[in-house]
Symmetry: C2
Subunit: 358 residues, 2 copies
């Protein structure tokens, strides 16, 4: 039997609850396909700050690197909000992304027919939306140097960052995005600000060059301001979107809110080789932590992405996705997606229902 090791990073807030539930689903789906999964839990984020004084202990990164895939819950909370930068939970997240080299962040935003009413958009605008945002995750202004604080020629204090992309960085994320688009609707929209930024001009030039390797994918370009508008005006026009780190941060969150159910949305971060990092897109929701109210479906669907993109066991991923659909069809809803006429359940119970449906 195939056997894989999975690093679990429960993190903070609702992280531990949703990871516990998703772990059981992951295990069960794997064994149905003859895949054995071994789990190792490690500290990250605020939990690591409290226990070890750093947001990403060396042992955690080492364990993650040595495993076949990583499932992360959520990190952060009010408690650490005013920490200095190197002691913020978020810094742990940025460091594990960089440390694993997971440069491609895949963030689907899908409006499920059962949940179309959860969107703030009109039904006819929201229904059928199925977008995949491919965000560059280890470059750009998040990591660019020089960065810091300084003094300008008028003697005033400044804060500065560098948006920078190399040809190699653009080419590799473009290839991932074209591959993803090819397996989806065959349309890729590259988002940049090439009418103003040199970093975007190079981005557009390279994405256009890589397109020749993918003649079956239809490439278009859009300015980021227009993309932010078009996501609201007519999100169905998009199939796959590829963009840089900061624009991807903004647009993928906008796209996810268009679905109206961010408690449902998973994400995958993968590199050229080595283990991928899988996590729900929602935050740590400290206000409902420990109350068995969290929606575990985003983490369960992240486990499905882990099986598909991380381990290549697509059949097991499909099982999980089908079980989630069935659970929704059976009317089970956590508070965030509840509507009259459905059955309100907690985090654990939702997990049990998915397990039953598996």
């Amino acid at each position: 039997a195939r056997s894989y090791s999975i690093t679990l990073l429960p993190g903070d807030g609702i992280g531990p609850e949703v990871v516990a539930v998703a772990k059981d689903v992951l295990s069960a789906a794997g064994s149905k396909e003859g895949v054995e999964l071994r789990f190792k839990e490690m500290l990250m984020g605020g939990a690591a700050l409290d226990a070890a004084g750093v947001p990403l202990p060396d042992e955690t990164l080492a364990a993650a690197r040595a495993s076949d895939a990583i499932l992360l819950g959520a990190i952060g909370g009010y408690k650490w909000d005013n920490n200095e930068k190197h002691l913020k939970p978020e810094t742990g997240l940025l460091n594990i992304r960089a440390g694993l080299g997971v440069f491609a962040n895949l963030r689907p935003a899908t409006v499920l027919p059962q949940l179309v009413d959860a969107s703030t958009l009109k039904k006819e605008v929201a229904e059928g939306v199925d977008i995949m945002v491919v965000r560059e995750l280890t470059g750009g202004i998040y990591f660019g140097k020089p960065r810091g604080f300084g003094t300008n020629d008028k003697g005033e204090e400044t804060g500065f960052n560098t948006e920078i992309y190399s040809v190699a960085e653009i080419d590799r994320i473009a290839r991932v995005a074209f591959e993803v688009a090819r397996k989806r609707g065959g349309k890729l929209c590259s988002v940049d600000k090439a009418n103003v930024l040199e970093a975007s001009m190079l981005w557009r030039k390279r994405v256009t060059a890589i397109a020749s390797e993918f003649p079956d994918v239809e490439l278009s370009h859009m300015y980021v301001d227009n993309a932010a508008m078009q996501l609201v005006r007519n999100p169905k026009q998009f199939d796959t979107i590829v963009t840089n780190n900061i624009f991807g941060d903004i647009l993928s969150d906008e796209a996810s809110m268009i679905t109206g159910s961010i408690g449902m949305l998973p994400s995958a971060s993968v590199g050229e080789s080595g283990p991928g990092l899988f996590e729900p897109i929602h935050g740590s929701a400290p206000d409902i932590a420990g109350q068995d109210k969290a929606n575990p479906l985003a983490t369960i669907l992240s486990a499905a992405m882990l099986l598909k993109y991380g381990l290549g066991v697509e059949s097991a991923a499909k099982r999980i996705e089908a079980a989630v659909t069935e659970t929704l069809d059976n009317g089970f809803r956590t508070g965030d997606i509840y509507s009259p006429g459905t059955t309100l359940v907690g985090c654990k119970r939702m997990g049990e229902e998915v397990l039953k449906a598996l």
Copy 2:
């Protein structure tokens, strides 16, 4: 009688049509308040490229500087899309902003009761939305240096830009935003990415410091990715938003699309002293240029902002706003905001109806 000189920059596409109509409305509203307006038309954008080889001729900037306010139509078009950067119409726009020192861009996004159905958002989410985005316009990554193309330590070609803000730049835009918020709902939300970017950390620190000068304004902070979500989830939570140049570009466009009627939205760009620049937020719409189909209301409302923020003649601005409301109440609509049961009119006729209502 007070007398002011106005520079008209019709620009490209539908620019000349909408500026012609707005000029008549501006003139009429001014004279009703005993204000005489003298107009001088100058070249900018593609029109200037074709006639003079540059997107912002020196005479245009000089005339603009010497006048009391500037009304701009729209710039750009397919024809110049592949021009080199210094020969793009957009570069003319960036240069006039910098040349005039108009660092504060005010972009209202208001859902008018007559047009609430134009929004793709559900009626209960869209109705009553009334947001003012205050965008920093002459700093940040748009103008930061160093910028350009280079080679990294692996010998790969790179493209790069610098996001940089000084204390002075942040303080002055913050003060404008607090003033604006004070005259509106008294709530200011500052948007940044202070969990990642040093430029944003300084932004947040200074905005927080300036808040002590405005104890009557309630200040909050939000990360840009969350702001992009919250605009979709519940836009009514926002009163005034202040943010940097690039985030403002993205969020103000997103906010404007939430109204569903970007053909209605004006903008004002003002500095510490000197003339302000007023323009509709829509583009040059080359596909409908010269067909008398454009909606002139955004430019007419920009003329109202010119009177209010540019010349301080608020009474004349109010006249225009009331006339626009009346024209909509009378059922007149251009194609972009048409719905069954209303009267479809062209650009000129819409202008005539506003003049009648004045």
